[in-house]
């Protein structure tokens, strides 16, 4: 196919810098993503590759829909959204964990093996429901969009499922971890059709990235 231009979905937030660094190492300059000019679509003139900056949670949708050929997305969102994507590389950066947490006082007398029904507040409704379903526990999942940690304090739910990296936020809100549901890192996701129609270009990018990461992992 004639169109061999590459469009990359770059996440806002904590994975922005490492993503720009990753592409810099394979010769694609997306440094304008770091400028304060708020431009959300730009082009690397040397390679002709375009970058679009979107919310990290929206990366799978952009890539599945073919609006971008590839993107960098956290494993958490990939599993939550279950989009049809190729998930070609574990990029190593953006490490955090998806955990189930509850108030410290509750934890002291709690026995997770006896749970039959629990109430959980989370952003990750699909992952949470699936996780508990697979263990035969009925989870009443309450969808929240932020400040998940306060849900147990104010009595919205007994427990929460959320991402933690340092654990400080949990601690500050009197919560303790009960279980790790999954470990999360950033992944290179690729549109299924793009891999076939632009296979040389994308195959090359994937191979070079894989080498770069193996030689010298990218830090957060």
């Amino acid at each position: 196919m004639k169109n061999n231009r590459l469009t990359v979905a770059i996440p806002k937030g904590r994975n922005l810098r490492p993503t720009v660094e990753l592409f810099r190492r394979i010769g694609i300059d997306f440094s304008s993503a770091l400028e304060e000019n708020r431009k959300l679509i730009f082009k690397d003139e040397k390679t002709g590759a375009s970058g679009i900056i979107v919310r990290d949670t929206d990366i799978p949708a952009y890539v599945e829909g073919g609006a971008a050929d590839m993107g960098v997305s956290g494993k958490d969102q990939i599993e939550e959204q279950e989009k049809q994507l190729y998930e070609m590389l574990d990029l190593g950066f953006g490490y955090c964990r998806l955990v189930l947490a509850e108030p410290k006082a509750l934890k002291e007398n709690d026995d997770p093996s006896r749970w039959t029904h629990i109430r959980v507040a989370t952003k990750f409704t699909n992952l949470t429901a699936k996780y508990f379903l697979s263990r035969g526990i009925h989870a009443e999942v309450i969808k929240l969009y932020g400040s998940i940690e306060i849900a147990p304090i104010v009595g919205l739910s007994e427990r929460i499922v959320d991402l933690v990296s340092t654990g400080n936020t949990l601690k500050a809100n009197g919560l303790v971890e009960v279980e790790t549901i999954m470990e999360v890192t950033a992944r290179l996701v690729v549109n299924r059709a793009s891999l076939k129609t632009k296979r040389e270009r994308i195959g090359g990018v994937v191979r070079r990235m894989e080498e770069e990461i193996r030689k010298n992992p990218i830090k957060d």
């Binding site: 196919m1 829909g65 989009k83 190729y86 070609m88 299924r192 059709a193 891999l195 076939k196």
Partner: protein, 421 residues
């Protein structure tokens, strides 16, 4: 809340005017191509018994079937989720006495519960072909060439066909238990190396075999894939599958399709019943225009053991793709709006219709202004307004507003000498 009488269920749609015209254009053109290659049409019922509907479907597909109960018997009836398995059943029963191979084509909708937020439809319109009773590679090639010919007929020149082979992957999965097999298939479908590696480590697969497995995720591309794949073949079945795929690939290249065809040996998508080559067709913008493959074990579930291969286009994605080309199919409400002044308008309209034109005759008289406004809204490019004395017409071109005085014969002549626009 008050029920909303104008709501329609999520995932269904109404096609109107232009959309409906494009849908019909696609279905008609695909059908004509299939018929021109000797395929016979088969029309199967839109609902059927659950037990027969689930044959060949995965658990996830079964869960998404839309079902209800047959009042008399209490049996579960479902809206069909797949036409291929219905065709297989027909081939095994009513068509069993006909000479083989059967070349069959169909147009119809399949239904399944859409998952929210995924842009899925409850109702998917398909148009497809099946060749039943021929195991040779000729049938696979004929299916692929038919779909290429259909793409040409509808005016799609930018697309890509991805080929895989269920027989090639089979031997790689043998040593895993059911759970691991599902997990590893899923990971392979996503080319997710870390997940594959985790399972290989857990199952303590010897290093050389594990290396072969990891290579699977890289077996996509052109001709060069075959050599890489041969190096990791573990049994005769895989080697045969690869030979088979190579033959198919070469004939497509001979047909000048090298640029359009790619190989992906890790592709595990599609219905579980595929046993041989599997095919997926992508548009330039990356949507799936159709899927297909060889399913040699499906017909025999209904008795006679017949090999088969088929392909189905997704009509809605095809419409989208055709509309995005530089020359989308022309749509117009009618060719002419005929405003008569005398009582003979019906006869005049009949003459124009006999000449092959689409004619819209208003029920009440219209002024030139009214006619123009109506024709613009309904996308009718020409207006004929009869002179009050019945002697000739004013021919108004809707787009430019240009007016020509003419007789009916003049108009028809002008139409057929290229004045159609």
């Amino acid at each position: 809340m008050k029920p909303n009488p104008t709501a329609i269920p999520q995932g269904t749609r109404t096609y109107q005017f232009e959309e409906a015209a494009h849908k019909r254009f696609l279905e008609q053109t695909l059908h004509a191509v299939f018929r021109s290659r000797g395929f016979q049409e088969i029309v199967t019922p839109p609902f059927e018994y659950y037990e027969s509907a689930i044959i060949g479907l995965s658990q996830d597909e079964r869960n998404r079937i839309i079902r209800f109960t047959e009042t008399d018997s209490g049996r579960i009836i479902v809206l069909r989720a797949d036409i291929t398995s219905q065709v297989a059943r027909s081939a095994a029963t009513h068509l069993a006495q006909r000479p083989l191979p059967l070349r069959l084509c169909y147009t119809g909708s399949v239904f399944r519960r859409a998952r929210t937020g995924k842009g899925e439809q409850y109702m998917v319109n398909q148009s497809g072909i099946e060749i039943v009773g021929h195991a040779g590679v000729e049938a696979d090639i004929e299916v692929l060439l038919s779909l290429v010919s259909a793409l040409g007929a509808v005016g799609l020149s930018e697309y890509s066909i991805s080929l895989g082979h269920a027989g090639f992957l089979g031997s790689f999965f043998e040593r895993f238990d059911d759970t691991d097999r599902q997990t590893i298939k899923k990971a392979l479908g996503k080319k997710e190396k870390p997940a594959i590696k985790a399972i290989l480590d857990k199952a303590e697969i010897p290093p050389d075999e594990a290396d072969g497995f990891m290579t699977l995720t890289e077996l996509y591309g052109g001709e060069e894939v075959f050599a890489k794949a041969e190096a990791i073949c573990r049994n005769e079945e895989s080697r045969r599958a690869l030979e088979n795929l190579k033959t198919i690939y070469s004939s497509l290249c001979e047909a000048g399709l090298e640029e359009k065809v790619s190989i992906d040996l890790a592709e595990t998508r599609g219905f579980g019943y595929y046993t041989g080559v599997n095919m997926e067709l992508f548009s330039a913008s990356g949507s799936t225009l159709g899927t297909g493959g060889r399913y040699d074990n499906l017909v025999k579930r209904f008795k006679p053991d017949l090999p088969a291969v088929g392909f189905a286009f997704d009509i809605d994605n095809m419409i989208e793709a055709v509309r995005q080309t530089d020359s989308p199919p022309v749509w117009r409400g009618s060719d002419i709006l005929l405003v008569g002044a005398q009582d003979d308008a019906p006869q005049t309209a009949e003459k124009l219709r006999e000449a092959g034109l689409m004619v819209n005759v208003p029920f009440a008289p219209m002024t030139a202004e009214e006619a123009k406004s109506y024709a613009e809204k309904m996308n009718i490019p020409n207006i004929l307004i009869e002179e009050p004395d019945g002697q000739g017409y004013d021919w108004i071109k809707t787009e430019t507003g240009e007016i020509v005085a003419c007789g009916l014969g003049d108009f028809i002549n002008a139409w057929f000498s290229g004045g159609k626009e």
